[in-house]
């Protein structure tokens, strides 16, 4: 901001009007003027009106929020940290739904919402340093990110969303593993025996390709690992092993990335009869891939997504997917934070399998 009112400057005329100015112009105390704005019951109505009127006339803009924040120790603002930058945050339907939930609670609560993009780590660190917030909600930030520790350093209340478990920090999430187990079991019950998996990223390094043991061991995103475990839980119980080349990791949550992954998986011999996808966008990409390979969904290949974003119901064929309450997750995160983010808080939201048109018994 270039157009700053000059501070510490010779000309006092440039300084903006303050409580004190209004007070002395009226011959009352600062507190009285302050009360006129914040505690109308603390002074007579006539005086209050007089104060407000005079303030308007003098061009007073109301109590300065920053000064108030300093004095009260509250900013009435929460910080929301996203990994993957805002391109991700504002493009991924699941992230948007989460954001909506957070924002709704903030609005209801009269709390501001400051977005802290964590794309460039350097920028993010600066932001965390300078951001005036009362607490943080962290969404989809890898455990290893330096911003993570920087935020913990601030000593402010923190709520983690979609992290597995983090001792000493409030978390909200879903039972990823259980949800995936259930979805896989459903496919097993339909008779499927050969599976492929399109996985979200295990670590924020842009790796693309099959997922082996060593990669999983070093995972910094809990979500991918937990979901993969869930798939395996059910498969193992059915005596089926998921080989590493049956799992394709795609760091980008986009239809095109999954399209490509699905083509890889569906070209294997023997071909899987079912694809498990860790997001609906991935699932939609998989549908396209099957289509271009001349495979019918669900007759030739069943596809299961994750999230149940609005698109899942609209796409043709409509998507069988794991529903998770995305907006509610955001709401709960915000509520936990506003309630002080007690370190022991752990909220697990329910999921359910929504069966639509992309699943059927194998041919």
């Amino acid at each position: 901001m270039v157009q700053q009112k000059s501070r510490n400057q010779a000309s006092p005329a440039a300084r903006s009007v303050t409580l004190k100015d209004v007070a002395s112009a009226l011959g009352v105390s600062r507190t009285t003027v302050s009360n006129a704005y914040n505690r109308p019951d603390q002074l007579s109505d006539e005086l209050r009106d007089k104060v407000i009127l005079k303030a308007k006339a003098m061009g007073y803009r109301g109590p300065n929020p920053v000064a108030r924040q300093l004095r009260t120790g509250r900013t009435a603002t929460v910080g929301l940290v996203f990994s993957g930058g805002l391109t991700f945050a504002f493009e991924d339907p699941a992230a948007i739904a989460f954001l909506q939930g957070v924002a709704a609670v903030c609005e209801r609560n009269g709390t501001g919402l400051t977005i802290v993009p964590a794309e460039q780590e350097s920028a993010a660190e600066i932001m965390v340093r300078q951001a005036a917030v009362d607490g943080y909600i962290i969404y989809c930030l890898p455990r290893t990110s330096p911003i993570f520790s920087r935020i913990l350093d601030t000593g402010l209340p923190v709520v983690l969303a979609d992290y597995g478990d983090f001792p000493g920090i409030a978390t909200v999430g879903i039972d990823d593993r259980g949800a995936c187990r259930e979805a896989t079991q459903y496919l097993l019950d339909l008779g499927h025996r050969r599976f492929g998996v399109i996985a979200l990223e295990f670590s924020a390094d842009g790796y693309t390709g099959p997922v082996g043991v060593e990669r999983r061991a070093l995972a910094t995103f809990d979500t991918a690992e937990a979901r993969l475990r869930g798939y395996e839980d059910a498969l193992v119980r059915a005596g089926i092993t998921l080989t590493s080349d049956a799992v394709e990791e795609r760091p980008e949550n986009s239809e095109t990335a999954a399209y490509e992954a699905a083509r890889v998986l569906l070209s294997r011999n023997p071909r899987p009869t079912a694809l498990l996808c860790m997001s609906d966008r991935h699932a939609v990409g998989a549908i396209h891939a099957a289509d271009t390979l001349g495979l019918k969904v669900p007759d030739d290949v069943s596809i299961v997504g994750f999230d149940d974003v609005p698109m899942a119901a609209h796409v043709r064929p409509s998507l069988t997917t794991v529903h998770q309450p995305l907006a509610e997750k955001g709401q709960v995160a915000a509520e936990l934070l506003l309630a002080g983010a007690h370190p022991d808080s752990r909220r697990l939201l329910p999921t359910r399998l929504v069966v639509r048109e992309t699943t059927a018994p194998p041919a």
Copy 2:
């Protein structure tokens, strides 16, 4: 935030560590500690290391952002005001693209971004009062909104996006009228003579239905009015009059709303051979409507959208639409604001008609 460090309280142990504490613990001045963080060149390296180390050991969390903001008069944060609430902001693809542009500039600039939802006017007024920002970007807020004047009252720099023209305030936008004129001319050149329009809202009152002269006269959203004028410019030149029942207003920018509007328009006798839509989402809804009415696009009816969101290229048939640089609009808005939002700043970004598959000569 419940978990507040107690202020003005008996127990001094509860107070958090400040610059002063670190300074006196080390026997140096506050300024020196401050400089250790902010101006490393102002003190010897050894002392600096000693200070930082001691600060860490004492649990000092770094200079308090709020105190700094008060002293420097800068918050390094911009406020972004959306109308229609966040449900709109985070769901409308055009709004998201704009937001991305704003966020990208903020990130590059080390500036925070505070979202001020303007859904509930009461909440929004509170937010504007308490938000610590250096300036505002206003997007899609009706001129008549009380928040509008509340923001102007703050005296902070303001940039308006997608407003026609606003004397004394910086604006960024596109030539809506010219863009629509061009799109219409293209349809005229193809041979079309009967038109229908699906319009965005003229005022934020939820009105749904045909648009007459009186409604247009009271418009509080400039965009809709400007675009409709553009359509008319071309039509009038071709000697065609747009009757009021050829224009259907739908306040909601959704496929379903437009679907319904398109069914109304396409049921008229004689049936229009071309539909002009003020958004791509509306256009997509219109395609569906034509489909269910058994009309082929573009053979039976041509459809033109507006925005050129990513979906426009992906939908089948792909959409002929007016491209506007949405993200760039957000960027420019942020840049103007960061540059001081000079009241005379007026930025008009280029648009262009992108011809795809939804337009053809009438049968």
